[in-house]
């Protein structure tokens, strides 16, 4: 069963004409707002609250529990606190690049969600090049990182920005190559097609999710994703004990919130891509699709937090080495093997 993208569903729901361009533009914006709000809500939950609780659980602590049930109202308190801080602009900052960077970092990750099918008809658009589009917008974040690092006029930020580029170059290629191996299986770049291709049964009750069909690619993708979102062992661009906070050293107040937000949305986008191309998208028994989808992206989030709590950070040269000599070779091998297998069997 294929559900129509969100604007059409909305049009049908409201009894408007789905063939009118004006209606579709307005409804697309409404749909984008809905999805954006959904993801922002998740981020708000993850940043100030869930992250603290999860890390605390890993380190034998309790974390926030004073304000509201389970300390949940800390989200409000943090929002007020962060937004009321002074916005400090460093002397010699290269504006407007310095102001644009947080916006780019926060918005590019959000754009990716436009093509992700979240189940229950929550799917803003379904272009034929869906997967390519997601990778493209996710990579644009790098530009924001470089801008932030270079425009801050701070040597730590500068180092952080350079590290971010080096890291993203080294890991985006394996990430995309591994993604391409899934495309070979599914025979399409379209997200809905990729999800649909994973619905048959593999063995018994086990669905043919690509994580089960090709666990090797799944592991590769999870690792590359850690680098892509900058979490341990690959949190080199920030590396608090080495270069203070990397590209975000000089940002405070709203700009800091935007960068922080962007980081978390990026983790969720990584989770969404993994859920879609490896974990059958919104598929799952009993519960509605959107719930399954959220469970899956939170699962990936939990994984990144686990890595952060327990794994040491590699050094920059080691990271580049792992990327170019290890991951790239393995992902190429994976792509080739997949192509051969698919070519022979189909």
């Amino acid at each position: 069963m294929q559900s129509a993208p969100l604007p059409e569903t909305l049009a049908n729901l409201l009894g408007l004409d789905p063939n009118s361009t004006a209606v579709m533009i307005v409804l697309s914006l409404v749909g984008a707002g809905l999805i954006g709000t959904l993801m922002m809500t998740n981020t708000a939950l993850a940043g100030p609250w869930a992250k603290r609780k999860i890390t605390a659980a890993f380190t034998d602590r309790i974390a926030v529990d004073r304000i509201g049930p389970y300390g949940l109202f800390i989200i409000v308190a943090d929002a007020v606190r962060l937004l009321s801080k002074e916005l400090i602009v460093p002397e010699g900052a290269d504006r407007p690049a310095w102001d644009l960077a947080p916006l780019i970092i926060a918005s590019t990750a959000l754009l990716g969600f436009a093509v992700i099918p979240m189940g229950n008809g929550i799917h803003l658009a379904d272009p034929e090049v869906g997967l390519a589009y997601v990778f493209a917008v996710a990579s644009t974040t790098s530009i924001g990182l470089v801008m932030a690092g270079y425009a801050s006029n701070n040597k730590y930020s500068f180092l952080g920005g350079l590290r971010a580029v080096a890291q993203n170059l080294a890991y985006e290629i394996p990430l995309i190559l591994t993604g391409a191996s899934v495309v070979i299986f599914a025979g399409s770049l379209q997200m809905s097609e990729i999800v649909a291709a994973q619905q048959q049964s593999l063995i018994g009750p086990l669905p043919s999710w690509y994580a089960f069909v090709n666990p090797f690619a799944f592991v590769l993708f999870m690792i590359a994703n850690l680098a892509e979102v900058g979490r341990n062992p690959f949190d080199i661009p920030e590396a608090p004990t080495e270069i203070v906070a990397g590209y975000q050293t000089e940002y405070s107040s709203v700009y800091f919130v935007l960068i922080y937000l962007g980081e978390f949305i990026h983790i969720f986008l990584g989770g969404a891509i993994i859920a879609t191309i490896f974990l059958g998208g919104p598929a799952g028994p009993v519960l509605p699709g959107i719930v399954w989808f959220l469970i899956k992206i939170w699962g990936v989030f939990l994984f990144t937090q686990w890595a952060r709590s327990a794994v040491p950070r590699v050094r920059i040269d080691q990271l580049i080495e792992i990327g170019w000599k290890g991951m790239l070779v393995l992902s190429l091998a994976n792509l080739l093997l997949t192509a051969v297998i698919v070519g022979v069997t189909v």
Binding site: D60, R308, P312, I316
Partner: protein
Amino acid sequence: MSLEKPSRDTALDVGVTEDGLDYDALADLLGGHVLDREEHVNAEGFVIRPDEVQEVLSTLKEEAGFDHCACVTAQEYDDRYESIYHLRKFDDPTQELSIIVPSPKDDPHNESAARVYDTADWHEREAYDLVGIDYDDHPDLRRILLPETWQGHPLSQDYNQDQPQIVSLREHANPLEDDKRSEDDPDTMFVNIGPHHPATHGVLHVETVLDGEQIADLEPDIGYLHRCEEQMCQQGTYRHQIMPYPDRWDYISAGILNEWAYARAAEDLADIEVPEYAQVIRTMAAEMCRIASHELALATFALDVFGDFTAVFQYGIRDREIVQNLLEDLTGQRLMFNYLRLGGVAWDLPEPREEYFEKIRDFLDDLPHKLEEIHDLVTGNEIFQMRCVDTGVLSPEQVKQYGATGPVARGSGVDYDIRRDDPYGYYDELDWNVVTEQGGDNFSRVLVRLREVEESARIIEQCVDLLEQWPEDDREIQANVPRTLRPDPDKEIYRSVEGAKGELGIYIRSDGTDKPARFKIRSPCFSNLQTLPEMSQGEYIPDMIASLGSLDIVLGEVDR
């Protein structure tokens, strides 16, 4: 017993006899260089000419095996300035010799020893800074603890304490300007790491020149936490007023080890015999401090390598907390113990004693399991090994040149531990091992600390057994010490103990009053930190940070 030293090369043993050093043989070796001989409590002192320092010291180093310049003490008398080089041997620190270099009052200067012992570099800079002696042929003689604009030398006699000092808050001049590398290699970048930086373990400022991500040049800039500890000690009375200060040198839970350094020096100076029962309590408490300190060292090192307040940091703190509770039960304090007294300890073990012993035993029983956990999480982790093995390498020769001691020296295979080599307290009655690792890298230093925690646990266990069986009528915790202690005038002593970070030594000169005339602290961190440039030259920033973490410095002790 397991405390035997491995055999060593005997070619350098000039004047070594069964019952100590034969100073006549050493004086013969130096011939006409020795102008006069003085008796210090710990060793004899040879007075030499100020322009023959390098010659005398290299002879002693090359031909008599004095490879450890533990400390340089400078002081001003009414008629002269004086620098004392406290020499010892890494093989046997009980073989000591002081080289006394007087210099004239009107123009105090003598030859630098920095060309013979690298460690003298910083020590002489400190002597220049605080006392005002000029060292000729010193590679880089400038102030080290005080700001460059400081007027006068605070420990000299004509220093005017009331004179206002102007310490200008000026921006750093561009240090690349006179950086020679920048001309042929314009790609270098200067970065101030610290004094406010997440990984400098306090207010340390590391002036770093980077070539890409690699370190082209590096210089630690210290003194941000200088609190005039030596001068404060000189203004306190021996009996009670000095003891609280040592807690504030290495202030992260190594308090009792520091207190012991002062107690040992002052007790030997004033011939105070400490009751055995008190010595056992001291030994136990000191080893608890060592565990607490090493746990924190491990936790912060993990923080530097893992990159966040992660599980490992919390595990280290969790275990340290239990030791802190034990120490709190014993001393009433968690950090600033002030528990030792000259001639004993402040009070006996807490009542009921059985309950306290029970608590300690519970802790010791859990410890192996907890260390296992940490080994699983940290030293067994492959990424951790990738980061730490073969980075920040320090060779045994460098260790000796820089006078590095403690886990830093033992991590490079230098088998040097004052507890065994120059026994004090109750250590020589107990069964334990000195831990060494051969690697010399960041990983070895971490391993040494982890294994030393096990050895400390063994010591505590034996102390608890001893204390439990100690006859009730023999529990003497304090020797008979006069209310006002006035050691005989002109006695000089240099004594050290094995602190958490290494050889913590105290030099005291008495002048017949109830306050020391000169009180000098030989801080292990001060000497250990000197090795940082050697360790991190050409390494990446993360490795420099890891090396700094593995040195386990406490700025309170570096700057004093």
